[in-house]
């Protein structure tokens, strides 16, 4: 009986110790993870507030400019420049051929930007439609 009681008591203690150790390990991991997340968010916040292109490396920019933007941003940029100059859509299309964007995708982008309030053009949109900025 006493042996059984001892086993029960010690196994209870052992279980408690294992649980405590598990909780401690979990908390340490959570703290480590939180630290990593905070570091990542600091880096991301820094990148998002820094004018990346203004500070772009002049050496690499001699051969390639703009040096870092997403494909969608570049398509948006090309459409803005075309609209600022009141140019037809085909003019924008010539400038985006480097990044594999077909006419259909460009027209979809133009429609989306018209819907969000950026561009003006006469419907139905085609490659000769003149773009302008909504001001």
């Amino acid at each position: 009986m006493s042996l059984f009681a001892s086993v029960v008591t010690y196994s209870g203690w052992a279980g408690t110790l294992v649980s405590v150790a598990y909780i401690v390990v979990q908390r340490l991991e959570a703290r480590h993870e939180k630290g990593q997340k905070e570091q990542l968010s600091r880096v991301l916040a820094h990148i998002s507030t820094e004018p990346v292109l203004l500070g772009a490396d002049a050496e690499s920019s001699r051969t390639r400019w703009p040096v870092s933007t997403t494909r969608n941003e570049r398509i948006r940029g090309v459409l803005i420049r075309a609209a600022a100059g009141r140019q037809p859509l085909k003019q924008a299309f010539r400038k985006i051929q480097d990044f594999e964007c077909d006419e259909r995708e460009l027209m979809e982008a133009a429609h989306a930007l018209a819907g969000s309030g950026l561009l003006n053009f006469e419907e139905p949109l085609n490659m000769t439609s003149v773009l302008s900025l909504k001001v």
């Binding site: 203004l54 920019s61 001699r62 940029g77 803005i80 609209a83 969000s116 309030g117």
Partner: protein
């Protein structure tokens, strides 16, 4: 040892230098030279200017001082044009090395330099209306670097600038004579132009009165076409004060409505360029027109500093949707001295950001 920031504004016709000390108790100094680093002038003019700038540094610094010189030049600074500046400064820079002065020297386009300077720090719009004209703007959301209008030298661009205003004055007088007839024609603007460009009225004494006005305009046109190396300064020099005097309704020298039309024409052109740059840049900040940023605008140049021009430009720009009330600085040497001091007070990382160009056509050249 002290920190000293030099700002040099080398425009189309002259160069000014301002000095800013870290200890603000010391008075800011201003100096002026008639030579310039503008790329339309000769290599000799560039060398003279380089020597003048280095002499000012040598005059005002002691061994052990740390100084930064920021030069804003009415010139394009890109990888292909840097050798001309390096050659012009090569010999003068040796004197600095001999005196053991810790000095960093940067050259950039004047409008680009204002864009880099406080308070814009690379975000906003800059217009210059002086001998030449230019409008540039940049924003971190715009991946193309600088958005620019005008500033392509007077035979091609520079519309609205001093040199354009003089040519426009002659063209308007000519159109006026053609419309109203030369007989008994009188224009205070024509008289002033002939005085300024030394068109001798005696030469036309044999020509009947009814033709003399046209003959004088023709003489003006051919004089300007023959103008020599110093032509830019000479032609643009007519605007201030002659054209502004004639445009003023209270002028004792006689008011000429043509002069007022030339000035308002310049304001219209500058407004259109500022509108184009601001609307393009603002479009990058948000799709929805109501969410777009209103951008700060700084206007430099001797013509913009004239009170009459300033009032007209302020009124014209106030109609624009994406521009905040403009700030006129006139000569930019003091602004560049502030930028130089800002550089000296910055840490290594900030210094690197300040010294980087906007795009391949708008670089910042570091000489030393």
């Amino acid at each position: 040892m002290s920190l000293i920031g030099f700002g040099v504004d080398s425009g189309g016709t002259h160069t000014t230098c301002a000095v800013k000390y870290a200890d603000d108790a010391q008075k800011t100094a201003m100096m002026e030279s008639s030579s310039t680093l503008a790329d339309s002038r000769s290599a000799m003019s560039m060398r003279r200017t380089a020597e003048w700038i280095i002499s000012r540094i040598l005059d005002l610094t002691q061994p052990g001082d740390e100084c930064c010189v920021w030069i804003g030049a009415a010139a394009g600074i890109m990888s292909t044009s840097t050798s001309a500046f390096e050659q012009a400064f090569e010999v003068p820079l040796l004197q600095l090395s001999e005196r053991n002065i810790d000095c960093e020297i940067f050259i950039a386009n004047d409008a680009v330099s204002i864009l880099k300077s406080p308070p814009l720090h690379g975000q906003g719009i800059v217009a210059i209306v002086g001998t030449g004209s230019i409008v540039v703007g940049a924003h971190p959301t715009c991946p193309d670097g600088i958005i620019r209008r005008s500033g392509y030298e007077w035979p091609v661009g520079d519309h609205g600038a001093g040199i354009w205003m003089t040519f426009e004055s002659i063209k308007m007088v000519l159109e006026d004579i053609q419309m109203r007839g030369s007989d008994a024609y009188h224009s205070p603007l024509l008289d002033r132009l002939c005085d300024y460009f030394n068109i001798d009225s005696e030469l036309y004494s044999s020509i009947p009165d009814s033709y003399s006005s046209l003959a004088r305009v023709e003489a003006l046109a051919s004089t300007l076409a023959r103008a020599g190396e110093d032509s830019k300064r000479r032609i643009a020099g007519f605007v201030h004060p002659s054209l502004f005097d004639l445009a003023s309704i209270s002028s004792s020298a006689g008011h000429d409505p043509l002069a007022a039309r030339v000035i308002s024409g310049s304001v219209r052109i500058m407004r259109a360029d500022i509108a184009a740059v601001s609307e393009t840049l603002a479009a990058f900040t948000a799709d929805n027109p109501n969410s777009r940023e209103r951008l700060p605008l700084i206007v430099g140049g001797s013509i913009a500093a004239n009170s009459s021009y300033r009032q007209q430009l302020e009124a014209a720009v106030s109609e624009l949707a994406y521009v905040r009330p403009l700030q006129i600085i006139g000569d930019a040497a003091q602004t560049f001295a502030d930028l130089a001091m800002h550089y000296l007070r910055s840490n290594a990382r900030e210094r690197k950001t300040i010294a980087k160009g906007f795009d391949p056509l708008n670089q910042i050249l570091r000489l030393q």
